[in-house]
């Protein structure tokens, strides 16, 4: 266990203002808010607090940048692509600074923020989307002999994008990539917990040479700033990643105002099914990372670990050992595997769930207590003997709590795995080909991983079934949420 005393290097904070029209602005109402270092609970800096008036300003700027005569609209597709690749090259150039800033603000271990593991995929998301600009095709459609019928894929317009705090830079890249590739303009609200890397990236965006107003970033909270985006009459689409609760509010607000298009990427209670023929050590390692990586602050967290009764006890024992050895501490310490949770409120919530697990009769095998007395560190907890109806098995915890449930039959476990209002991800560990493929088909989740977990790749679509959201991100499917299809029919007279 490493110390939780922070060895944070001096990370200079360069940008704390609202970004509109490639310029930095103070908040109209003159307010700022504190950004906290979750490793210490202490303030890092103050950031300008955007509210409705700032959102209005940003929308005006974005709308102008989307004007039919604007440079952005007149650019050849390849020019958009070149700008995006330039932006990606600056992300790569500043990888060291960005990963330290991300760790300072978010608490993910520096091992996790490190360029080659983390930031390169982010860079590639942008590059891959940049490669789509000149490859998105409409169709000509055979109609009557005196008709020329074709479709155009046009940008939707002003896109509001609200991103969460668990993967600040990654979530920003996932949003910007397809929106820019399709020629849209953007109002992005980073999470109020973690605005710093988004604001730094805004400076890179400007450096790359994008025209004014194409990207605008408004730091601020959900109820005032995020809501202003959701209800705005002049925003054409909203994309949100966050909790189901807030997702529903956003969809309602978006629909009631101007029927803006909505895509949502929400929470999960993803099942990981370990079959009796699985290589036990491999399964234990996969299951451990499936729940605990990123301090379990993942929408895809494998938070219901179903283990076949034949290997259940061994699995629990080895998982407990792995969990006990997980190094929790200062994210800037190279030996740390798990940093703090994001803030006090999440911290409290997680500890409450752990209490509920105990009182519901699950067995807390290890962990669950706070580490140190500064920041929001929690020892990874493993519960065995978990039943489907316990709170810890039904609700999204977003904290380092592994729940291990027993099963006997494969027909039964599929039903149990699907018995949830969520449907983001699922996994099965087995050597049996048929079982793996059959489960892949029967599990109700947007991503199903066979013999792996968190196998998210840039070209393949990612998103949820049921209340885990709708719409897909990444790859070609990810573009579909960012263009409107127009059908043109030319009659020959």
């Amino acid at each position: 266990m490493s110390s939780t005393d922070s060895k944070a290097p001096n990370v200079e904070i360069k940008y704390t203002q609202i970004f509109i029209n490639n310029e930095w602005h103070k908040a109209t109402n003159g307010k700022t808010f504190a950004v906290i270092n979750p490793s210490t609970g202490e303030e890092i800096c103050q950031v300008e607090e955007g509210t409705r008036v700032d959102v209005d300003k940003a929308v005006a700027a974005a709308r102008k940048a989307f004007d039919i005569d604007s440079p952005w609209r007149k650019f050849e597709p390849v020019v958009r692509g070149n700008l995006m690749r330039k932006f990606a090259s600056f992300l790569r150039r500043d990888v060291d600074y960005l990963s330290r800033l991300e760790t300072l603000n978010n608490g993910k271990s520096v091992e996790d923020s490190k360029g080659d593991i983390f930031l390169l995929p982010i860079v590639w998301t942008i590059i891959i989307d940049a490669g789509w600009v000149d490859k998105m095709v409409g169709e000509t459609i055979p109609g009557a002999h005196d008709q020329l019928i074709y479709t155009l894929h046009e940008p939707i317009g002003v896109c509001g994008q609200i991103i969460p705090w668990n993967y600040p830079i990654l979530m920003m890249a996932w949003k910007l990539g397809p929106a820019l590739a399709c020629g849209n303009v953007i109002i992005l609200k980073p999470a109020e917990q973690t605005p710093l890397t988004a604001l730094y990236c805004a400076s890179l965006f400007k450096e790359a040479g994008f025209p004014l107003g194409v990207l605008n970033i408004i730091p601020g909270d959900g109820p005032e700033c995020g809501n202003a985006i959701a209800v705005h009459e002049d925003i054409d689409k909203i994309a949100f990643t966050g909790s189901v609760e807030v997702g529903k509010k956003i969809q309602e607000a978006a629909t009631k105002s101007n029927l803006k298009r909505v895509s949502l990427e929400l929470g999960g209670k993803s099942p990981l099914i370990i079959c009796e023929d699985a290589d036990l050590d491999y399964a234990v390692r996969v299951a451990h990372q499936a729940i605990f990586s990123n301090a379990a602050q993942k929408c895809t967290a494998g938070s219901r670990t179903f283990v076949h009764s034949k290997i259940y006890d061994k699995f629990v024992a080895r998982s407990v050992e792995l969990a006990k050895n997980r190094v929790v501490g200062d994210p800037f310490d190279a030996s740390t595997e798990q940093g703090p949770q994001i803030n006090a409120s999440q911290f409290e919530k997680i500890l409450n769930y752990i209490e509920s697990g105990k009182s519901d009769g699950a067995k807390l095998e290890c962990g669950g207590e706070r580490v140190g007395n500064k920041g929001y560190f929690i020892k990874p907890a493993v519960f065995s003997n978990v039943k489907d109806d316990m709170k810890i098995a039904r609700e999204e915890i977003f904290g380092p709590v592994m729940s291990v449930l027993k099963f006997d039959s494969y027909e039964e476990v599929i039903k149990r795995a699907n018995n949830t209002s969520f449907g983001l991800a699922a996994s099965v560990i087995t050597k049996d080909l048929t079982r793996g493929l059959t489960f892949a088909q029967q599990l109700q989740a947007g991503s199903v991983w066979v013999n792996d977990y968190d196998a998210v790749c840039n070209q393949a679509p990612f998103g949820g079934f049921k209340q885990s959201g709708h719409g897909r991100e990444l790859g070609r499917y990810g573009l579909e949420g960012y263009y409107e299809v127009k059908t043109v029919v030319v009659k020959l007279i």
């Binding site: 050849e76 048929t434 493929l437």
Partner: protein
């Protein structure tokens, strides 16, 4: 003003071949009239090697007729060596086969960057060896190469297969796999551009290739080989040979370990290659000749039509599947009503065309590629004179050094004249008269070729009806030679098989494999 804006866009984005780009100034670029020839050997497995026979051949500067280099002469044994290298690079488990698709793209982006870095040198070398005006090499050819490579670079991670709605308890999907070792034979009229059109799809799909450069114009291809090495392609992924058609090219076509052949050249040679490749069921794509109709209606923008028609023929010394160019608008059909005016203006424009030293800023037309080509063109001009067509400009060789032919214009050409039926591949423009739409469509289609066509009109209806009716792979309306990388290019009928550029070019470099797995229960 407008032309300057267009030039700037082409310079920045290098996408389109337009006549306006050709007038962009190259004064700020230091023009190297005698670029050093650095690479003259065969490029196999990332190394430059002599031909196994020790033989080499002369490379000529067509502006002077003089020898400028000696390049290793690849023949059967060298082909064998190159194919072995390509086959080894393609083996299961190789670095190339295991490389992430996005990383294949990264290599193409890198190659594009290197060509951009060395743009002035490569353009000068292209002019030195091919004779095309330097301002065209610099403003059109090289930027287009860069744009094409960057276009292709975005593809590798996007080549998706499909999951199929089959019946029964099966899970069935397709994989689009690389076809294997490909042989690519390219001509002399656009050496750099055609090299990039070929290696692009090969790299994108994960194939390995043996390229044969044309024996007239190997110099820029061999320089590019050096950049391929510098960019970091694994050895054997791209091999580049120089050599003749019958022996070197023939060996590639016949080699049992080459799975696919891509050839750009004459229809005559294309048929020989196609027939030979068929013996081993090799996948074959051919991009051959053309006798492309350029149809000018009375309701066109006449200035634009005259200028574009001129460009359509004369660009690249007429050596373009258009001009010296496979798609040369080499039959210009003009509607009766504006015929005389059109001919008059074309005569003026043709007489104004500046032919001369390709390094001269004001030159529009350089030499033809060789003595042989020049003689062939002059013969065809003779046939035109004898046939009864009216020679209204040019008609003779220009000067006595190098292979220059005067910009030549025939009016009152009839469909059955040799100059209206055969591909000339030189700066000889034919103008024919027509009355009605149906007539001109029928006459335009009366050819065994079908590479390109163009229509000049302001009428929307006419544009659509005529473009629907013409049997050609590319139809341009109110423009010509638009070669955006995202648009497919290729021929109907005997102008070829398959398409280049765009997503459509990838089909011929992939094999579709369908995998069907039995599962215990399938649900929709």
């Amino acid at each position: 003003m407008l032309s300057k804006l267009v030039c700037k866009r082409v310079l920045n984005h290098g996408l389109r071949l337009t006549t306006r780009a050709a007038s962009a100034s190259t004064q700020q670029v230091v023009v190297n009239r005698k670029p050093e020839v650095k690479y003259q050997k065969l490029f196999i497995n990332n190394e430059f090697v002599d031909s196994l026979s020790g033989a080499s051949f002369d490379v000529i500067n067509p502006a002077t007729g003089g020898v400028i280099a000696q390049v290793a002469d690849g023949s059967e044994k060298d082909v064998d060596r190159a194919v072995k290298a390509a086959k080894n690079a393609f083996r299961l488990g190789s670095e190339w086969r295991r490389m992430d698709p996005a990383d294949r793209g990264a290599l193409l982006y890198k190659l594009a960057d290197l060509i951009e870095r060395d743009r002035a040198y490569i353009a000068a070398l292209e002019t030195y060896n091919n004779g095309k005006p330097f301002k065209d090499s610099y403003n059109i050819d090289i930027p287009h190469c860069i744009a094409v490579l960057r276009y292709y670079a975005g593809w590798p991670d996007k080549i998706n297969g499909k999951v199929l709605p089959v019946g029964g308890d099966f899970f069935s999907y397709t994989r689009r796999e690389p076809v294997g070792v490909v042989g690519q034979i390219i001509p002399w009229n656009f050496p750099m551009i055609l090299l990039c059109w070929k290696i692009g799809p090969s790299v994108v799909t994960g194939c390995t290739t043996v390229v044969k450069l044309d024996e007239h114009t190997p110099l820029t291809g061999l320089y590019t080989a050096k950049l391929i090495q510098e960019a970091g392609f694994p050895p054997g992924v791209i091999n580049i040979l120089a050599g003749d058609g019958p022996n070197c090219g023939g060996s590639i076509v016949k080699h049992p370990d080459v799975q696919k052949i891509a050839f750009t050249g004459s229809t005559h040679v294309g048929k020989i290659i196609g027939a030979e490749a068929a013996k081993l069921v090799k996948r074959t794509t051919l991009e051959l000749g053309g006798k492309s109709p350029n149809i000018v209606f009375a309701d066109c923008d006449l200035d634009n039509a005259v200028e574009m028609s001129h460009f359509a023929l004369f660009f690249n010394q007429g050596q373009c599947c258009c001009g010296q160019c496979c798609c040369a608008g080499s039959r210009t059909f003009v509607e009766e009503k504006i015929y005389d005016e059109f001919v008059q203006r074309s005569i003026e424009r043709t007489k104004r065309r500046k032919i001369g030293d390709p390094y001269d800023e004001s030159t529009e037309q350089g030499p033809q590629i060789s003595q042989e080509q020049m003689d062939k063109i002059l013969d065809l001009i003779d046939s035109g004179k004898k046939s009864g067509a009216k020679l209204v400009a040019g008609g003779r060789r220009e000067g006595d050094k190098g292979f220059f032919v005067q910009p030549t214009l025939f009016a009152d050409v009839k469909d059955d004249h040799q100059i209206a039926r055969e591909e000339i591949f030189g700066p000889v423009m034919q103008i024919l008269k027509f009355k009605s739409i149906d007539e001109v469509i029928e006459r335009a289609n009366d050819t065994e070729y079908g590479l390109a066509a163009s229509i000049f009109t302001k009428d929307l209806d006419k544009a659509i009806v005529v473009s629907n009716g013409i049997r050609a792979g590319s139809v341009w309306v109110n423009t010509y030679d638009n070669f955006d990388p995202a648009a497919p290019f290729g021929g109907f009928k005997q102008s070829g098989l398959g398409r280049e550029k765009s997503e459509f070019s990838l089909d011929s470099y992939t094999e579709t494999k369908c995998v069907t797995i039995k599962i215990s229960e399938r649900n929709s």
